[in-house]
């Protein structure tokens, strides 16, 4: 099955990915508008991948995590850095490891 890609980001991110051929781009302005758009993307049948920049994901906060928790298999959501290269200090993936494997987080933290 073929699916389209959507991007939620600042104007530069949206411009860049639009140049690369992404079908839906949304420029973040305020929290409510973006949340509504995100919900629309999530409900859409033809979108398979949603890219959202880290700062926006963080601004959406709990609502965004709620969306992540409740979503079905598709679309896949991926958080990407914006042009400032900002990455959150707490890596969500490490949280995942901590929850899933418990104590083995230590082993991994040493090798990585």
């Amino acid at each position: 099955m073929s699916y389209k890609v959507a991007v939620i980001g600042d104007i530069d991110t949206a411009t860049g990915f639009a140049l690369a051929g992404v079908s839906y781009t949304y420029v973040h302005a305020d929290k409510d508008g973006t949340l509504a758009k995100l919900a629309e993307f999530m409900a859409s049948e033809e979108i398979g991948l949603v890219l959202i920049t880290h700062p926006i994901a963080e601004e959406l906060g709990a609502e965004f995590r709620q969306v992540m928790r409740l979503k079905k298999l598709l679309p896949v959501i991926l958080r990407i850095p914006d042009k400032t290269g900002y990455m959150p200090k707490v890596d969500e993936l490490y949280e995942l490891i901590k929850r899933a494997v418990g104590a083995e987080i230590v082993v991994r933290a040493e090798e990585g």
């Binding site: 099955m1 104007i11 639009a18 140049l19 690369a20 992404v22 079908s23 398979g48 896949v76 991926l78």
Partner: protein, 214 residues
């Protein structure tokens, strides 16, 4: 805990046999789940290792792309760049299918020909700078890598969810169900032994009484 279990159970031989079977079943289930958990952990770490590599590459490419876009905006003008991005063809599609790891559905994302030729992009070539082509190309490359990364991260998330669930089941069996069954089993065995001793004693007494009478 044993007392709770004992209150509802009737100490009979039938019950004992039934319980023994249940303990055996629980134990086998526990072993199987344990094995599943081990396999999932191996899979999980394999995916994590791949994420780490993919992430480095994708993020590097993405920052290259942002830089190229900045250069382009500076040379061509921000408005013109945005205009061109609106004119570009937006028909990129990813192929999504499901893959199964230990019975968990994880999506696989695949994208064909992310990188397009300048002509295929759809913006007007003679009004735009070659820097725009450059920026588009870098973003296309970045997008390809991000799609890969998205697949991996989603897999990791799915495996972690399953792992958590399996872990909870293993623990429930190991620390709750099996000890409780074993406690009940022990209670029944003790009770049966006790009844046997009582019976034995009763017979001895009767025999003594009969002998005394004779």
């Amino acid at each position: 805990m044993a007392a709770v279990a004992a209150a509802v159970v009737t100490p009979t031989r039938m019950e004992l046999l039934r319980l023994r079977r249940r303990v055996g079943l629980a134990q086998r289930g526990h072993d199987l789940l344990r094995e599943k958990m081990d396999a999932l952990v191996i899979e999980f770490f394999e995916v994590l290792r791949r994420i780490r590599d993919a992430r480095v590459g994708a993020l590097k490419q993405l920052s290259v792309a942002y830089r190229a876009l900045s250069t382009c905006s500076a040379a061509m003008g921000t408005i013109e760049t945005q205009q061109a991005s609106k004119e570009a063809r937006h028909e990129l599609e990813v192929e999504v299918s499901a893959r199964y790891i230990m019975g968990i559905a994880v999506p696989t994302l695949e994208v064909e020909k992310v990188e397009r030729s300048a002509l295929a992009r759809g913006y007007s070539l003679h009004t735009t700078s070659s820097l725009l082509d450059e920026a588009s190309r870098e973003f296309e490359k970045a997008l390809g890598l991000l799609v890969e990364l998205a697949e991996l991260e989603e897999s990791a998330r799915a495996i972690a969810r399953e792992l958590e669930k399996t872990k909870r089941r293993v623990n429930a069996l190991e620390y709750l169900v099996i000890p409780r069954l074993k406690a009940t089993l022990k209670f029944i065995m003790m009770r049966l032994d006790e009844m046997e001793r009582e019976n034995f004693l009763r017979l001895k007494r009767i025999k003594a009484m009969l002998e005394a009478r004779a």
